[in-house]
Every structure is written in C-alpha cells, then in structure tokens.
C-alpha cells in the first residue's frame, strides 16, 4: 500500500522552520529612492508642459542632488566667498556654512566623546583592530580607511584616529539614511508630509516644502533657525505623533536638521520656479540659480528675526492674571476670545462656519482645516514655557490663522500690547490649564491608606479628569 507521506518528512520540516530565520538575517530596508518627487501642485500647474516639468526636475536634482546623494550645488559666488552649505561644521568663509560657533562645536565634541567612549577607550589602550562602529556604516568605513593608512600617517595616526570620533559630524547622505529610517514613514521621501503612515495621523505631519514651520523663535514668517528645529527634535511636539528624538547624539540630530533644511529649500525652490515660469512662460538657467540663492539667503537670515524677551519675566500674580483675562476677552486688544472662546476651550464663534462649531472657518497653509487650540487641556504643541507661549502670541503661528500681535500698533501708533500686557496674556493662558486639585486622577495609594476599609467608596472619585488631561485636542 502506498502512502502520501514524503520519504524525508523531517528534513522538509526542518527546512520550513529554519528558512524564514535564515532569510530574515541581514535584512536591510530597501535602498534609497532614486529621486525626489515633484509636488502635486507643480504637476497640476504645469499640466501640458511636460518639458518644463522635466526641466524643473532636472534643475532641482542639479541644485540639491538625489535621496541617494543629497548635495548642494556650490555657485560661483559662494565659491568666491568660501561659503558651502554642504559642510555646516566649518566657518562660512572657510568652505562651510558656519552653522556653529566655537562653544557649540565644543559641545558637539563633548557629546561625541560620551557617545564614542567605548571606541575612544580602545584607542587609548591601542587596541585599534577592535574599534568598530557597527551602527554607523559610513563612519565605520571611514575609520577602517584611517586604520589602513596608519603606517603612512606615522606619528599623526593617534591624533587622526581620535579626531575621527570626537569630530564626527554626519554627511548629508548619512543623515538622509537616518531620515529614511526614522522620519520618512511620516514626512515622506521629499519632505512632503506624505509618508506611508501620514494618512493615519491627526494632525498631519509637517510638509517641509514651503519652508513654513509652526513652532519657532522667529517673527515675520521667517525661516526657522537651527536651534528651533533642534528644539522640536529634542522636545517632540506634545499632543501629536512627533516624538522626542533624544536617543540620537547631538551630531546626528544636527545632521537630520541639515537634511530637513535641504528638503525644505528644495521644496521652496520648486514652488518659486513654478511661480516664475507661470509669470514669464520661460525657465532660464539664471532664474534657476537666482531662485536657489534667494532661498538659501532666506534661511541664512533667520537669526535676524529672532524673538526673545530681554528682561525678567513678571511674576504671575492674581492681578496680572486678571489683567490677562481682560485682554484675552477684549476684541480690540488681545482679541483671543474671538477664536479661542471666552472659556479658552477653542470655541469662539469666528473660528467656525456654523453655530454648532463643527465646520472650521479656516484652512492652514497646507490646505487642512484648522481649529483653535483648546487652552484648557494643558497641551501646548510648541512648548508650555512662558517664553514659548509669548512667542506664539508675539509672532503668531506660521502657516495658521493665529496672528502676530507682538508688534501690532493701534491708531495712535502705540503697541496694542506692551511687554506687561503680553506677559499678562501669557500668564492667563497658562493659568487656564491649572488644576492643582485632583491633578490627573486621585492617587489611589493615598486613598487606600487614609480611608482604610473604605476603598470601594473612594474609588468612585477616580473617574477620568472631566476637563480632559488626555487627548490631543484638535
């Protein structure tokens, strides 16, 4: 009698069970995309001009490189000045972009010494062959190269070896790789906020391509400063899916910022080129280079728009908070209640089209409906420090209907809100989410101890906070 059992069932079983394990070893994410995509608005605007689309695509690749090899083109003027945005670590006249001063470079170096303490200890012990950086393949390859030239370097080798690690700063392509691993799934290959996980998020991830960033320390809708982007990376954006990325070293975070800036500049250049073409119906090489330099200059000027408060922040006294409340509700001065509502819950009538407050009256610059922040919830995306709120009120929130009132003046030419009034508003806004009684929930431990034998009755107090600590708000 014949059976259907294979002659060697065990071997087959073994193979079936081990094959997936073997296959999953050494798994690498798929390679970098070959090119950046054009924005949907570009394709729409240039519908019927496939040649121009191709030209813009080519021009942008020439100016900013590709995802595999992102790289700024260095123009003649930059070459003369010694300016090169590809190397942020070097001074602006020294073949770099001068992103850091000496103190910042020292801090970067100190952080590298912490991060690479294992490698540096091995170098110290002269166990050069054991020094590896498996998680950073480019740095590892560079180190192998230095090691391979040890004889040629002679006495300089020890110094060169140490500098390999303490002066580590990622290249744009290394940062692009880190971006692909950590950021792309939300922010997209071209920084359009259109990665695969973006669709499931509210609020949507930032689209960098307009150069507009919401939470910065600059006014007049200027480009963000490096420090502003770093703050977002280290603090995260509370109430959104943007987490803190403190697990990475300072050098890696600055590398990510370099790459985000490149994506942002690329997107902005794209929009300007399309606008220029629509105006003149031609696209010349001069236009391309001029646009490129214009965008770069905007970013270089960011520091000129810095906003801070040069003085001591006044104490949040009850009188101060009462004054803030009056300003908040005064339509002629603060005017906050128009959108944020008298209660501060984001229920002011002018923010909505309908009396039921379901349809937003405004879209943000990215075309998404936008609702005023519920200030009672205690979550402030741009940070909850007084200076953070001050900046939101002073400079507005770029890309949204939140206006800049810090420098607006009345009919008499005086500032509508002087420094004291600004801080009164800030303190009032911060006081809205104050809730010292029963913060979060009643700590159960204390109930159990203080009312022993009555835990069931006290458990009834432990409902969720009615004013909503949780929730991202709108």
């Amino acid at each position: 009698m014949k059976t259907a059992v294979p002659a060697r069932p065990h071997a087959a079983l073994l193979f079936v069970s081990i094959a997936p394990l073997v296959a999953s070893c050494g798994f690498e994410p798929s390679a970098a995309p070959r090119s950046y995509e054009l924005d949907a608005s570009t394709i729409e605007a240039l519908d019927g001009y496939p040649d121009v689309q191709g030209q813009i695509r080519g021009a942008l690749a020439m100016l900013y490189g590709t995802p595999q090899e992102p790289r700024y083109m260095v123009t003649g003027r930059w070459l003369d000045d010694g300016y090169d945005p590809n190397y942020p670590r070097y001074a602006a006249a020294d073949g770099g972009s001068g992103a850091f001063d000496d103190a910042q470079l020292d801090a970067l170096q100190a952080d590298n010494e912490r991060r690479f303490s294992k490698q540096l200890a091995l170098l110290e012990a002269k166990r050069f062959e054991e020094v590896r950086v498996r998680r950073m393949p480019e740095l590892d390859a560079y180190w192998r190269d230095v090691l391979g030239r040890s004889e040629e370097l002679g006495d300089g080798f020890a110094d060169q070896a140490r500098r390999t690690f303490v002066e580590y700063y990622p290249t744009l392509s290394e940062s692009a790789e880190l971006y692909r691993r950590q950021c792309l799934h939300c922010h997209g290959n071209s920084g359009g906020g259109d990665g695969p996980t973006a669709a499931s998020l509210s609020p949507r991830p930032r689209d960098y391509r307009r150069g507009i960033f919401k939470f910065t320390a600059v006014k007049d809708k200027a480009r963000p400063r490096r420090e502003d982007l770093l703050r977002i990376l280290t603090e995260g954006v509370n109430g959104t899916a943007m987490p803190s990325f403190r697990r990475f070293s300072d050098a890696q975070l600055h590398g990510l910022i370099d790459y985000v800036m490149l994506l942002s500049k690329r997107g902005e250049s794209e929009r300007l080129l399309v606008a220029g073409f629509e105006a003149d119906e031609v696209l010349t090489a001069e236009m391309v280079v001029e646009t490129y330099m214009e965008v770069e200059d905007k970013w270089r000027a960011a520091e000129d728009y810095f906003v801070a408060f040069d003085g001591v922040i006044p104490e949040p006294t009850p009188a101060m908070i009462a004054r803030g409340r009056a300003l908040f509700e005064d339509d002629a001065r603060g005017g906050c209640a128009k959108c944020h509502g008298v209660s501060g819950r984001g229920d002011g009538d002018s923010a909505y089209k309908d009396p039921e407050h379901t349809i937003s009256a405004y879209d943000d610059d990215w075309g998404h409906p936008i609702f005023p922040r519920n200030l009672v919830g205690g979550i402030f995306r741009g940070g909850k420090r007084p200076i953070d709120i001050y900046r939101r009120i002073y400079s507005g929130i770029n890309g949204t209907p939140m206006p800049a009132v810090g420098e607006s003046t009345g009919a008499d030419g005086e500032r509508l809100l002087d420094d004291d009034a600004m801080w009164a508003l800030v303190h009032y806004v911060r006081s809205l989410s104050e809730r010292p009684d029963g913060f979060g929930l009643v700590p159960i431990a204390h109930v159990a101890r203080s009312e022993r034998g009555d835990t069931d009755a006290s458990a009834k107090h432990e409902g969720p906070d009615p004013v909503g600590q949780g929730g991202a708000g709108r």
Partner: protein, 257 residues
C-alpha cells in the same frame, strides 16, 4: 533503519540545542541584564525557580520522546495496537503539575504583594506623573511648589530622571491606548491604561542610564517608543530640577546663537 536514526538525531537536536541556547545565552549577551532595583532579586528568584522546573521537565520529556522514537518505531506496514490508557499514570501527570502550580502560586504571593499591593506602596507624594502616548513618554514633575497641575510643573520628554537609593513613586497614565512601562534592569513592568492613574514604584540601587521600553504593542510606531531612566545621586537630581526650573522661566535670550 536510516530513517529511524535520522528521526532520532533530529529529535535529539531539539533538547540539545534548546539547552545549549540557554547555557550559552549569558556569554552571548542574550540574557537579562543584572538587576539594580531592590525588588529585582525577588523577581529573579521566581524566574530561576520556574526556569529550573521547566528545564527539568523539558529535558525529561524530551528524553522520553527521543527514547520512544528510537525504541518503539515500527515499519510502516505494522498495525497500531489499541491501548485504553493507564489510570494511575494519568493521576500522576495531573497531580504533579497541579502541585507544582500551587508551589509557584504560593511562592510568588509575597513578592507580588510587596511590589504591587497598594498598601505596600511607599508613603508620600509621587515624584512624577508619567504620560504615555503614541509614541513617546513624558515625565511631569511638581516643580518648586510641590503641587501637580500648577504653572510651575516641569515637563520632560524621553528622559525620566530619578534619585538613586530612594523609593521612587510615580503615577502612570496613558493618553490614548494601552502602553506598558518596562525597565529590564529594574525587573519592572506595568501597563498604562487610558483613564487610570496607576501608582508604580521602584528603588534603584545604582546610578546609570537604563532603557525604558514600551512593552505593549501600541500601534505602528511601537518599535520606536523608548525612553531612558537616568538614575543620579540626590545632589545631581536636585541640580537637574533647578536647571529645568531655570529653563522653564527662561526669557529665551540664551537661545540666540
């Protein structure tokens, strides 16, 4: 004959590789990191108790299996014989596991009570409120006035800074879905449940940085939901709090580059 040998050897590989994996794991860095919390050794004791029980019965049953396959294999043409079973044996293999389960159940009671019972939680106000959300951790401290929910509260993302050698009590919250606060070195794991404020405590005996991992699959970003517990001396902790307070009241001028 060859089939029988191959089958036996393959089967034998299971216990041999299984035991080998465990024996070599610590040398390969696959084992649990050494514990640094006060209740860690209690958890480890239970872990090893159960591990040794499981190891003993694993080896025993595998040995019987391998032996049976080798000795009792028959040619395919042989007919199977019907057997009704053995009452005494069945009593034995029900009774022994039941007794072992009771041993485990009773030996863990004290440890569970010590760590999780509300009555045994350290006295006093919590050091912090810990907020889990998709996909990060935020740590809220009471600030100078010692009261939570006021304007001078300090919020820190990613890093939970705590003093060494002290009972650290915190309340765990979730803003959205289930998360789990887990630090391997502390042998501590506690789910965060939306709408609940769960008191959790630990006492770490050594300064250092320990990885905080979300141990509950919480969505597509679960893999990147980690944080850090930095255990420092009391002086360093106080200095850190002072520094955070200064940052909170900053006028922003030092951010100029």
């Amino acid at each position: 004959m060859i089939t029988r040998l191959v089958a036996t050897v393959l089967l034998l590989l299971v216990p041999v590789l299984g035991v080998w994996t465990f024996v070599t794991a610590p040398a390969n860095g696959w084992w649990m990191p050494p514990t640094v919390s006060t209740f860690g050794p209690d958890i480890d004791y239970l872990f090893y108790l159960i591990l040794w029980m499981v190891a003993f019965f694993f080896v025993l049953t595998e040995a019987i299996l391998v032996y049976s396959v080798f000795v009792y294999s028959r040619k395919r043409a042989d007919k199977a014989t019907f057997s009704h079973g053995n009452h005494k044996l069945e009593l034995l293999w029900t009774g022994i596991p039941a007794a072992l389960l009771l041993v485990i159940a009773f030996s863990q009671m004290g440890t569970w009570a010590k760590i999780k019972f509300r009555g045994n939680i350290p006295e006093g106000e919590p050091l912090a409120h810990v907020w889990a959300s998709q996909f990060d951790w935020r740590f809220q401290y009471a600030g100078a006035d010692g009261v939570f929910g006021t304007m001078d509260d300090i919020e820190n993302p990613f890093e939970f800074v705590v003093p060494v050698g002290e009972d650290v009590l915190f309340n765990l919250h979730s803003r959205d879905v289930l998360h789990s606060f887990s630090v391997l070195e502390f042998r501590l794991k506690q789910d965060a449940v939306p709408g609940m404020s769960i008191p959790v405590w630990f006492n770490c005996r050594e300064t250092g940085s320990y990885e905080l991992i979300c141990m509950e699959l919480c969505g597509w970003g679960h893999y990147k939901m980690n944080g850090r517990v930095r255990v420092v001396t009391r002086e360093e902790y106080d200095a850190w709090i002072t520094e955070k307070q200064a940052d909170l009241m900053s006028n922003g001028m030092e951010e100029r580059s």
